[in-house]
Symmetry: C2
Subunit: 442 residues, 2 copies
């Protein structure tokens, strides 16, 4: 590999400071954030210099106020900071919500001595509740005072964006572009309402996904032209965050933002660079960071007990391969069968049959393998069960992670979706507790 | 009403005999069908005279062998019997399965003294397992000997098609066409893998549903032209079976079949009859029977604790209204919120936002009501929460049945979907028991 993982924190690229604080955005009463003391719920990520910016956002037609504010800023060339909170999604909050989202960037700008136009904003949490702006104001002021370059403060930021996640998600890599050492770091959150379908212009990408709130923030000290950065992020997200589904629900708040401040002083990567040399090295490293983060979201999905990579090949087109993979990955019956360790290929064929993909029953092959292995155990060949014993298939599906291979044998297109099982724990978690409305997720 | 419900059995229209037997199609060993003794798993429904026939079948591209056999026979004008079994879906069974399905009609024809071409066949149960034809043969022979006109034998047939259903589903009505007393009866099964999207020609109907095995058999002694009967069944299914979803999974085996033998001797209803008078009366009665049966399937869905009628109005087109209603009805997060009695409108707006329907967030109204009531409690007006208290909304959603009203306020089109919550019991039921493969559903 041309890059290598390093101890992760959003602050490891040069010139990035971060911090995360608790300001009680859920208004639970100070100190009651969790059993272990208050959980951080607001963070700032700040570049010392103006940074090239790119962002991709949910294509849900009901989109949150911070998404509306951040889309236009991410479509500009440069930005310098992100302010983000958990506990309140600022979605379905109308004009007041829009004003609050803008005010969050104003407040952060004032504390940081930056124009609010150079600041992006993201929120995740409960839908339809006004932002508690007094708490947010105090949080931004406190957070700005805490900012520094340490990994510990990076971890705090990663913690502050979590909702139903069980742990923080951080990845970082280092690579060499000629003599110059470049770093890329990322943090994200996910857990439920997860089938992102993000785009930079509210038009759905070719592969249309369905939902969850996921937020991801990426930093790099690479020198890269804004237009080249936007292309690179599109490419990376198309193969990572837009390839995952936990429950098929696309959120109102999905956002991925990258800031690249050029402090590594490498020869600038431009859009006209051919996709080789430095541009290719940067892309590969970025792809790695986003894919690792995306898989972390699925593995830490609400109630998840199994991580499954669905690989469809032999489709007539990418759209067909994608539709087939998503039908299987989002089928309630397929997902529950995995929960029980049941390699139920009948339900898989059923889901392929009602997908919008071209399929011919008599041509379909279905196999399971260990993750990444090419040693496949075929359950179905040409639409018919093989002689592989049920016990043998069960032994693979009993594992916490496995791959499902579906060959439609109709063409040469492929698609992969990273998904999980559907468990009683997911239902239990999401059915909420109506006796405690503040605990209900968005 | 121009018709009235009567004690139900598939045999109540004149000239229909039925029976149901246990022939151990799951090969559990005789007598072990259930704790309460063997559960019937094969039935025959036979008309004394050739009957006008109509049928609608799954549009899943992976469709079971009996569906392939029955489609062509239902597209003919007349038929005289149906043979059906539970325990084995005869799906993904290749050429052997196709031969077995035809053989089932041959065997029934031989016992009944009818051409196999006048007999339709349906199966439901596990996918990918060859039909145990020795058992089936013995079952058909035994069943043919049991046939009679009694309601008890009708009930046996209704019992024989059940899989994970907790009870038999039977409806019958009587109506007067002039001096002539007409009866329409129906039985069905459902429970899981339920979002039928049935058509008479394997092309998807305008409203595309997604999945479950549901079977429904209807009998009538009305005199009606085959082409008029086909139109009537299309109309009835469009507003009933094709409007339900339990888990969004469209089955390989969904089938609805009607036989109308004319023994009531009413003046024949023809396709050229205007849709008034007798033709309209028949249609209304048939609509009632199919809708009652369809609702029974949802109420008895796997693990269901709440029955929800999703009514979308104000859409630009029927396709939009349908897409919006299905997105909400199939959202894992919306369904789990109902399971907890949580009127979570945020998840509802989220699902509307990622549906393929045209929506404008700022125009959407969302309300709950008691079933069929016009007294609505608004949760959302113009995309924003109302002042209706959370407690008040909870009190409605705590009920076993309620209506959800969504007005998109963009047009005049409407759609309704009958659905249910997603519970831990659904997951528990469907995750199967890999230590007992014979217990695993299709």
């Amino acid at each position: 590999m041309s890059f290598y993982p390093i101890p992760a924190a959003i602050t490891v690229p040069q010139g990035f400071r971060a911090a995360g604080v608790f300001c009680d955005i859920k208004r639970l009463g100070t100190g009651k954030g969790s059993d272990k003391g208050p959980k951080r719920d607001l963070c700032l990520i700040v570049s010392d210099l103006p940074a090239a910016v790119a962002g991709l956002f949910t294509t849900n037609k009901v989109c949150a106020a911070p998404v509306k504010v951040s889309i236009s800023r991410a479509n500009g060339d440069y930005a310098q900071a992100v302010v983000a909170n958990s506990g309140n999604a600022n979605a379905c909050t109308g004009l007041i919500g829009l004003r609050d989202a803008k005010d969050m960037t104003e407040l952060a700008g004032k504390e940081l001595g930056l124009s609010s136009r150079s600041i992006l904003v993201c929120s995740t949490g409960r839908i339809g509740v006004p932002m508690p702006m007094d708490n947010v104001r105090a949080g931004i002021q406190a957070c700005a005072k805490m900012l520094d370059y340490s990994p510990e403060h990076g971890h705090e930021a990663a913690e502050a964006i979590l909702t139903s996640d069980t742990h923080a998600k951080e990845v970082a890599v280092e690579l060499k572009l000629g003599k110059h050492k470049i770093r890329i770091a990322g943090i994200c959150k996910g857990a439920g309402m997860i089938q992102p379908g993000m785009s930079c212009n509210a038009k759905r990408p070719a592969a249309i996904p369905l939902h969850a709130t996921m937020l991801a923030f990426l930093t790099s000290d690479a020198a890269i032209e804004p237009r080249a950065l936007k292309d690179a992020l599109n490419e990376a997200v198309a193969h990572s965050f837009n390839r995952i589904t936990v429950d098929g629900d696309m959120s109102t708040n999905d956002s991925v933002i990258i800031l690249a401040n050029g402090m590594a002083r490498n020869p600038i990567i431009t859009k006209s660079s051919r996709l080789m040399g430095n541009r290719l090295l940067f892309q590969k490293a970025l792809n790695y960071v986003t894919l690792e983060l995306a898989k972390m979201i699925v593995r830490d999905g609400e109630g998840v007990s199994r991580f499954v990579t669905v690989r469809v090949s032999g489709a007539r087109s990418f759209a067909d391969a994608d539709a087939a993979a998503r039908a299987v990955a989002n089928s309630a019956l397929v997902k529950t069968s995995w929960c029980g360790g049941d390699p139920n290929w009948g339900r898989i064929l059923d889901a392929l049959g009602y997908s919008n993909s071209h399929i011919v029953e008599e041509k379909i092959d279905v196999a399971y393998s260990k993750p990444g292995s090419t040693r496949m155990l075929f359950a179905v060949k040409k639409g018919q069960p093989t002689r592989t014993s049920f016990r043998t298939l069960c032994s693979l599906v009993a594992e916490k992670e496995f791959d499902l291979h579906i060959n439609l044998n109709l063409g040469t297109s492929e698609a992969v979706i990273y998904t999980c099982d559907l468990t009683e724990a997911y239902v239990d978690f999401n059915k909420g507790d109506v006796s405690n409305p503040s605990a209900l997720g968005g």
